[in-house]
């Protein structure tokens, strides 16, 4: 059976994913999104558009939130990657943002939710007490078609309060 270059011309890429060291084997131009999903079976990262518009494939690379559909895997050599699967401390201990999404109705169909949760975490790390304008701007790279965003805004506000109470 014939194979495309993507199956044949593979390189090894070393990186850390959700705290574990990994050696990924893939074509250097393979999208990080596909490698995470297919090689590591981390399917929480979703594809919505494949062109960096919708944010469903958001992951953290060295603390920066990026669209993994636009990142060739060769670029993550030595990088620390965090996906939605690396956000909750454990099955019982969800991140404050995840809890807030459940409580406020921030997730409907759920397909944008992993990316949206990461975008909200990124926003709160940069701006711990965001204004409404901060929230609107901070999430504008992530599209949601179900919620009209209102319940997501409420979840971000709720997560701030939750974190503030714990601090």
């Amino acid at each position: 059976m014939s194979k495309s270059d993507f199956q044949v011309a593979r390189v090894a890429v070393n990186c850390t994913v959700n705290g574990a060291e990994q050696t990924l084997h893939a074509h250097p131009l393979a999208r990080l999104l596909d490698v995470l999903r297919e090689e590591l079976r981390l399917t929480g990262t979703k594809e919505g558009c494949g062109e960096g518009e919708c944010g469903a494939c958001s992951v953290f690379i060295d603390g920066e939130i990026v669209n993994s559909c636009l990142v060739p895997v060769a670029q993550v050599e030595g990088a620390k990657i965090v996906t939605i699967e690396g956000i909750a401390q454990s099955d019982d201990q969800l991140h404050a943002v995840q809890r807030a999404f459940i409580e406020c109705g921030g997730a409907q169909c759920g397909i944008c939710t992993p990316g949206m949760v990461l975008a909200a975490i990124d926003l709160l790390e940069r701006t711990p007490q965001p204004t409404e304008a901060d929230i609107r701007a901070g999430l504008a790279g992530n599209l949601c078609r179900c919620t009209g965003y209102i319940k997501i805004f409420e979840a971000v506000v709720h997560a701030c309060r939750d974190s503030a109470m714990k601090a």
Partner: protein, 750 residues
Amino acid sequence: MPEQPVVGRPVPRKEGRDKVTGRARYIDDLNFPGMLYGTTVRSPVARGRIREIIFGDGIPWDEFVIVTARDVPGENCVALILFDQPYLAGEQVNHAEEPVVLLAHPDKHLLEEARRAVRLDIEPLPAVFSLDESLAQKEIIWGEDNVFKSFLVDKGNVDAAWESADFIIEGEYRTGAQEQLYIENNGVIAVADAGEGVTVWGSMQCPYYVHKALMKLFDLPETKIRVVQVATGGGFGGKEEYPSMIAGHAALLAWKAGKPVKIVYDRAEDMAATTKRHPSLTRHRTAVTRDGKLLAMEIDFTVDGGAYATLSAVVLSRGTIHAAGPYLCPNVRVKSRAVATNVPPHGAFRGFGAPQSIFALERQMNKVARTLGLSPEEFRRRNFIRAGETTATGQVIHEEADLAGLLERAFELSDYREKQERFAVENETSRTKRGIGFASFMHGAGFTGSGEKYLESVVGAEADTGGRVRILAASTEIGQGTNTIFAQIAAEALRLDYDQIDIAQPDTANVPNSGPTVASRTCMIVGKLVESAALGLKQTLVQSGFLADDYTPEEFRAACGRYVEKFGALKSFSQYKQPPDINWDDEKYQGDAYGAYAWAVYVAEVSVDTLTYEAHVEDFVAVQEVGRVIHPVLAAGQIEGGVAQGIGFALYENVVWQAGRMVNNQMTNYIIPTSADIPPIRVYFDERTTTTTTSGAATSGAKGIGELPMDGPAPAIMNAIEHAIGVSINHAPLMPESLMRMMGGELVEV
């Protein structure tokens, strides 16, 4: 026993935890051993005769599974209403993107190279690209007159009314196509062989639609077809009928390959090839008296169905019945038709024809008010339908239908009057003009007319030895909260904890057909069946002597244990029976069109930048009466999400067509509202009314909610823009370029 009633409480969404942790498995997250990837070779031509399929050089074609129309084991048509749409075009194509060849291979990159290497030699035929061309019969492309379906609603005597009118006002209104743009594209995985039959897993709204379609495609009995819905990333109607197509394609490939086949579209293919909202043209002629009473409404409504009939007849039906809105008028004639064009078939999208005809009506109502010298609200107030009065189809409204009350509430909450006056003053001097406007409307819940009677939906409930109750229904969770509200309804019926109720995965091998997940019917119609199926469990336990009428959850558990031990299983099924007082005449299109209506008044505040010609929604108030609210957070989420899609429909979402193809089929240039574009959306449910619906229709007093919020935003926004700048906008979407032309601006070359 639960301390608070579980219905009405914002319990956590059943699958919420899986969704926020990334654990929820959607179709593209699943892989089967030995699975191939499938793809679709589509027509680049809108209409033509297929001369030859040319498999280009440089591809090891013997490794590929190749399926054409000749490989179809059963009938080559998608079974829906009419059987006119083929799975694969054989001799002729009738729209661009029409499927002609299917390919499968284990390597998806090689598969894409192969797809590009197939060339379709098609002799072009003259094509029809718009509803105007179709109406003008520029070319006959379907049947004898390009008309898929037409309706006539006739109440009173419209012809006799014109003479006694003080004013007759005419208007013409258009709406464009709109892409559902669920964030998860269409996708399925199929396994198939002659012995075992066909099984499909996929992203879908209506497993039994797919089931029916595959039976015909493979000429197999119902026991040989199994359809399973997996977590679905949004639908909005876009996964109502289309999954039958993609499921058939994957199954045809799997049938020939003898291996599982996955087809998942990318965004460009999903946008270009799958269904969209029907474009529409509505003409109004309205007769009124000097004191502002409606005398006659003549409405001519046309929708563009695309190349095949698909669901256009029922979309047209809903649009037709909603065309005269929530107003009392003694003489109404609505003539409507769905016409064929050579574009990909238009299909279901939230609202299903009603947003189109309501857009026209609510713009026309403002125009009539202006002619009369009345405010838009005063004119409507004089004509709102009330309990005991009849709609255009002659349905007597038994509900309280307090539209005047909803209007007043919406005005208070939005500071309508104060803003109206203030903006008029401020707009004199400001570059940005502000305006405020509203729309009043209703939306019927459930299938139209006798639809529910024919569906005869069934829901099951079963209990295990530990007293856990499982609801068996084909109604799908697509984000709107089916799993959660069903569990609430069952928990309340049985007086159990919400957590004690599970919802079975929709799998045609395990759940009965509770009908499609469409038409705002899940909560109202299917919810009622969930309630009675759950109560059936209790009745069985009581009748068999294992349970007293009054019981604790512990006693219920113990009773289930004893019953299952003795009889093997505890199950109960409930089937929809149409109440005898619902009467509908399919021939005359008269009678009780819907078992219940949701009523609403929406207010939009806009700003228009007179330099950039951008319109923006600044504030939005949505007041509605939907009966009893089962889950306040989910219900508000439905309204907010629908309003956001309505804002997109009005101001952002513009499908650009060239020779029958969508050319902006990317999220980069088909723009949906982002978090930066959405105003505060303030949602209010009016629960003052004790809901009296046409009997037996509503569960726990709940009415349909899903589609309602799509109807009001676009006309409310255009009414607000007219208030801001004094320019009458009679089409949607309104793009800055067209607003510039309407405001007399000119393009300046720089």
